[in-house]
């Protein structure tokens, strides 16, 4: 770099024998490029997996047919274009969204163990969905009734967490963690109660779905809302990445650096609640993605949000694409809920991260 103001080092570097001079860290654009390439490749490959295995050549033929006007077998076209492609795209959107939400919530509550469902959103969604099944709520909405119920439950839960935390003096990190955790348990209990009271065996199955997550219902007309939400919230967080860096350093530090802390926290909460609410409504609750991927991203490119947000989003998308593949091929012909897969893969990854001496989960010693 050519600095206009020459600043000579005034002190010699300490002569620590064998001490590493700096931590090697790959440059963010390289990581982003690599992840983008891997994601594109994975998307094509993942479409080949399923009840009818398809070679990548067939997948590319169909894409060529649809996008560039080539020719393709109509059977394969139906499988690839109508069933598997929207599912892969939904995996990308939901994976990216969960990783973005996890990054945001960990900054908001300054807690490395926070995940997107901390705001009570997924248990609230399960209450809403269960209520739809057991009481016939939103019956007029047809196929959308469940998603609508889940979204309503998710937003109501987030609103309650927000309201209670505000009434007690504001969205301080510890208060949000405790309020969210306690209310999540309460919502789960309420959902269980609804299932227990209901004679409908579908109710229990449904609660399982909303708590453990699945992409099996993916269709083209479901993609617009989550895609738009993830893009908008992700874009807004990127637009505030400098302020988020300051907030991660602590509320007093952020205030001293000229950041309007209270406004930033409230806006962050609303954005995250809307994002997670929409994701839960389309895919249920998928554990571990929002918890781990932000840490993986920080490990790769450091803790600055400008780097963490895109890297976490791409890594989350990549991760969920393959998780969904595993979920649909592991126990054929049935599908495993996504949280089962993410939990089985995610727990060892988290333990590995814990074991790394060079990564402190944002801690300070």
């Amino acid at each position: 770099m050519s600095a206009p103001v020459a600043v000579r080092p005034t002190s010699p570097p300490p002569a620590g024998a064998g001490a590493p001079v700096r931590r090697r860290r790959p440059r963010t654009p390289i990581v982003v490029g690599a992840l983008l390439g891997a994601l594109l490749l994975s998307a094509v490959l993942s479409i080949g997996f399923g009840a009818e295995p398809l070679p990548p050549r067939v997948v590319l033929e169909v894409l060529d047919h649809r996008l560039l006007g080539g020719t393709a077998d109509p059977t394969w076209d139906a499988i690839v274009w109508d069933i598997r492609l929207p599912r892969t795209l939904l995996a990308i959107v939901v994976g990216a969204g969960l990783a973005i939400a996890g990054t945001g919530i960990q900054t908001l509550v300054r807690n490395p163990l926070a995940d997107p469902y901390l705001l009570g959103v997924s248990s609230g969604a399960s209450v809403g969905a269960t209520a739809v099944i057991t009481t016939g709520l939103f019956a007029g909405a047809g196929l959308w009734a469940l998603s609508l119920g889940a979204l309503a439950g998710a937003l109501a839960a987030a609103l309650l967490v927000f309201g209670i935390a505000m009434a007690q003096g504001g969205l301080t990190p510890l208060r949000l963690v405790l309020t969210g955790t306690v209310l999540s348990s309460a919502f789960s209990a309420f959902a269980s109660f609804l299932v227990f009271r209901s004679s409908d065996p579908q109710a229990a199955q449904s609660v399982l779905f909303w708590l453990l997550g699945s992409l099996s219902g993916a269709a083209w007309d479901q993609l617009l809302l989550p895609t738009a939400t993830v893009a908008i919230v992700g874009g807004l967080l990127m637009a505030g990445c400098g302020w988020l860096d300051a907030l991660a350093a602590g509320p007093d530090t952020a205030a001293a650096l000229g950041v309007p802390v209270r406004v930033l926290r409230n806006v962050l909460f609303v954005l995250l609640a809307a994002l997670v609410g929409v994701l839960v409504a389309v895919a249920g609750g998928i554990g571990f993605v929002g918890l781990i991927l932000p840490h993986v991203a920080r490990l790769l490119v450091g803790a600055r949000h400008r780097a963490v947000l895109p890297v976490a989003a791409l890594a989350g998308a990549l991760f969920l694409v393959w998780v969904d593949v595993a979920a649909r091929v592991a126990v054929r012909p049935t599908e495993v809920p996504l949280s089962v897969v993410t939990g089985l893969i995610g727990a060892p990854i988290f333990l590995l991260l814990l074991g790394r001496r060079t990564y402190r989960f944002g801690g300070s010693s």
Binding site: M1, S2, A3, P4, V5, V7, R8, P9, T10, S11, P12, P13, A19, P20, V21, R22, R23, R25, G169, M238, A239, G240, C241, G242, W243, D245, A246, A248, A249, G250, D252, T253, A255, A256, L257, G258, V259, P260, R298, L299, G302, A303, R304, R306, T358, Y359, R360, G362, G363, S364, S365
Partner: protein
């Protein structure tokens, strides 16, 4: 040592203090909280270094937060160059006053330069950062604390003393004419305490610093204010303020002023006022 401004005031009227508190009051612990500051009056001139001393729990940290505008006052007002601080936006305020807190620690998964670059936050839009101009400001700030060679190192590789200096550099990178420092020498050994305080003295800033070590305060500050029970007990040149009588009254400790045989500076020796079995 000179008691007074170390360099001329840039303000039009040198009689207007750089930072002034009038009748300042502050409560902690919410609406039914405890009043920790009551009717605090203070004035700091341009280029002056004011030390704030006082027993634990007497409101030093709260006073510094209110002076820096990080926390609102319950009563009274703070003025910078004669105009009230309360009316300014957080960003404008952060360009006037930089603050480094007592228990702050730099995040371990950042590089040294990235921690210092946080100080540039009030000078850029929320989405920007990391350009060459910013890097120059970061290097200047790190050079002032003699850590510019460590700009690309991980915070984890630094000692406790170096971390305090990195945080000070973050405050310097704000390039605010006023610097508010809460116990900057916390957890440092005697050599690093002296080195850091000398470093702070060399800065061309107006400095308000909370400090526990009375001898250190006496050695480096232009003026000392003793805070006691949430109000200013005494305020003036260190050797006039830190008298045995004042120290006995405020700290409950007997102090004997002794002249250093070589430098001639006054140092304080302490003996406990009450029997040692008493409360501490």
């Amino acid at each position: 040592m000179t008691h007074g401004a170390r360099f001329p005031a840039p303000a039009d009227d040198p009689r207007i203090p750089h930072l002034q508190a009038r009748g300042l009051a502050c409560d902690v612990g919410g609406r039914r909280g405890r009043r920790v500051l009551a009717d605090v009056d203070l004035a700091v001139r341009h280029g002056e270094m004011l030390g704030v001393v006082g027993p634990n729990g007497t409101g030093k940290s709260t006073l510094l937060r209110v002076l820096a505008g990080v926390r609102p006052a319950a009563g009274g007002e703070v003025r910078v160059d004669g105009t009230p601080l309360a009316g300014r936006s957080p960003r404008d305020r952060a360009r006037e006053i930089a603050m480094v807190g007592q228990e702050e620690q730099p995040q371990s998964d950042l590089l040294v330069g990235e921690v210092v670059a946080l100080g540039r936050t009030p000078h850029r839009p929320p989405w920007a950062g990391g350009d060459d101009a910013e890097r120059d400001a970061v290097l200047r700030a790190l050079a002032a604390v003699e850590l510019d060679h460590a700009v690309d190192r991980s915070v984890e590789q630094l000692s406790g003393g170096e971390r305090r200096r990195v945080l000070l550099a973050r405050g310097l990178a704000q390039e605010a004419p006023l610097l508010v420092l809460d116990e900057p020498t916390n957890h440092l050994d005697v050599r690093h305490q002296l080195a850091l305080m000398r470093m702070i003295r060399r800065l061309e800033r107006t400095v308000v610093v909370a400090i526990h070590d009375l001898n250190l305060a006496m050695a480096v500050c232009d003026r000392v204010a003793i805070l006691h029970d949430g109000t200013v007990h005494a305020d003036g040149p260190p050797e006039d303020v830190l008298t045995p009588a004042a120290i006995r009254e405020v700290f409950g400790v007997e102090a004997v002023p002794v002249r250093h045989p070589d430098t001639g500076h006054v140092h304080l020796l302490f003996t406990t006022h009450e029997p040692a079995d008493d409360r501490c």
